[in-house]
């Protein structure tokens, strides 16, 4: 899989077609909900809904360790299972699931390169059967918070320029022209971006067929904005799912050491009383 820093985190659609029902492999389609999954999915794949299964549904947070263990156990996943994630929107929400699985220490998590889009475009088999896996016992590690940024860390990074802030939203969200992606509900009081952030929309990391761009292309894309792995990076978007895609690219495809996803993202920063905000296009990278 190319010359990525960690090529083992990606699998091809062909690999999934060959291995989706292997006992040591569990495939899950991840999306904001299961509407696409219900149309038909990779045979043997589970459907995970971001809005009900991959977030705490009461307070705004990722799953607790206990909730995560329950999801894994009910999905028939053991600590040794190879988990392959894919989804719509070039794997937006699959990356969110991968990020959370890494936070809780799952060893072998992979993403199907190209996601649902490539699977459909290639005319591969679909199933509407929902698997009923046998329950397992799963023991998660304590949360690895080196992968997650909280507000104080982002504030410190902004003030001290101690980390590269990457805003992966669309250019119009970055400038403040719109408060949410077109067609979606506005979820913040103010538009704009965190002062000093670089605008590198998440989708620039993908080819037209949904696969990731090559190592060299990705390195050039982020490097042109001063994101070259020489200092810590914090990625953010609106609610943290698009930025988990960029987190995956920087952490695993480019192999940068200190990369965090700020899942509070713009819905936190853009609603804070007194938070500094920049509007308009970014100035050129230094």
């Amino acid at each position: 899989m190319g010359n990525y820093a960690h090529p083992e985190v990606l699998v091809t659609t062909e690999w999934v077609a060959q291995h989706a029902t292997d006992p040591a492999v569990r495939v899950a389609e991840v999306d904001v909900d299961t509407a696409a999954y219900n149309e038909g999915h990779v045979p043997g794949a589970l459907g995970w809904a971001w809005n009900t299964q991959l977030c705490d549904t009461v307070r705004r947070d990722i799953l607790s360790k206990q909730q995560f263990e329950e999801l894994m156990a009910s999905s028939g996943i053991t600590n040794d299972t190879t988990v392959v994630l894919y989804g719509d929107n070039n794997n937006w929400f699959a990356a969110w699931a991968a990020w959370q699985m890494k936070i809780y220490g799952h060893r072998d998590v992979r993403i199907m390169n190209g996601g649902r889009k490539k699977w459909l475009a290639e005319g591969r088999e679909l199933s509407t059967q929902v698997p009923q896996p046998a329950r397992t016992t799963y023991r998660a590690s304590d949360a690895d918070l080196s992968l997650r940024a909280f507000l104080p860390q982002v504030q410190d990074a902004m003030k001290g320029r101690t980390a590269g802030l990457v805003d992966v939203r669309s250019p119009q969200e970055f400038t403040g022209e719109i408060l949410a992606p077109p067609g979606l509900p506005e979820t913040c009081q103010r538009g704009g971006h965190i002062p000093g952030a670089r605008s590198i929309p998440w989708g620039k990391a993908c080819n037209d067929d949904g696969t990731f761009k090559s190592f060299d292309e990705l390195k050039a894309l982020y490097g042109a904005e001063g994101i070259d792995g020489s200092r810590p990076v914090i990625a953010y978007c609106r609610i943290g799912e698009r930025s988990s895609h960029t987190w995956f690219v920087l952490k695993y495809l480019l192999g940068y050491g200190d990369v965090k996803n700020y899942d509070g993202s713009w819905t936190e920063w853009g609603n804070l009383v007194g938070a500094p905000i920049e509007k308009g296009a970014a100035v050129a990278a230094a």
Binding site: V32, A35, A36, E39, G40, D88, N89, N90, W92, K117, L120, A121, G123, R124, E125, L126, S127, T128, R169, S170, P171, Q172, E173, T175, G176, E177, I178, L179, A180, P181, P182, G183, L184, E186, G191, P201, W202, G203, C237, R242, K279, G280
Partner: protein
């Protein structure tokens, strides 16, 4: 079952670019409308023809995109 005739095309709705991705499974066409930048799905629909599925998705996309306000920067 296998998806067939997957295709994508871009249109403009209320001044916003929209990508329509559609495919057929058996006798049913599925269509998804996304907002191109950033690419979020804003409508899904089905129909007995591609045109019908696309029109339903576009109708919902029109409704949602009409609510998006542009701010002065």
């Amino acid at each position: 079952m296998k998806p067939q005739d997957y295709s994508e095309r871009k249109v403009e709705v209320n001044g916003w670019p929209v990508n329509l991705a559609s495919y057929r499974v058996g006798n049913v066409y599925h269509c998804k409308a996304d907002n191109v930048s950033p690419g979020a799905a804003i409508a899904r629909s089905t129909g007995s023809t591609r045109e019908e599925a696309e029109e339903k998705a576009l109708a919902r996309a029109r409704e949602l995109l009409a609510r998006t306000r542009r701010q002065k920067v």
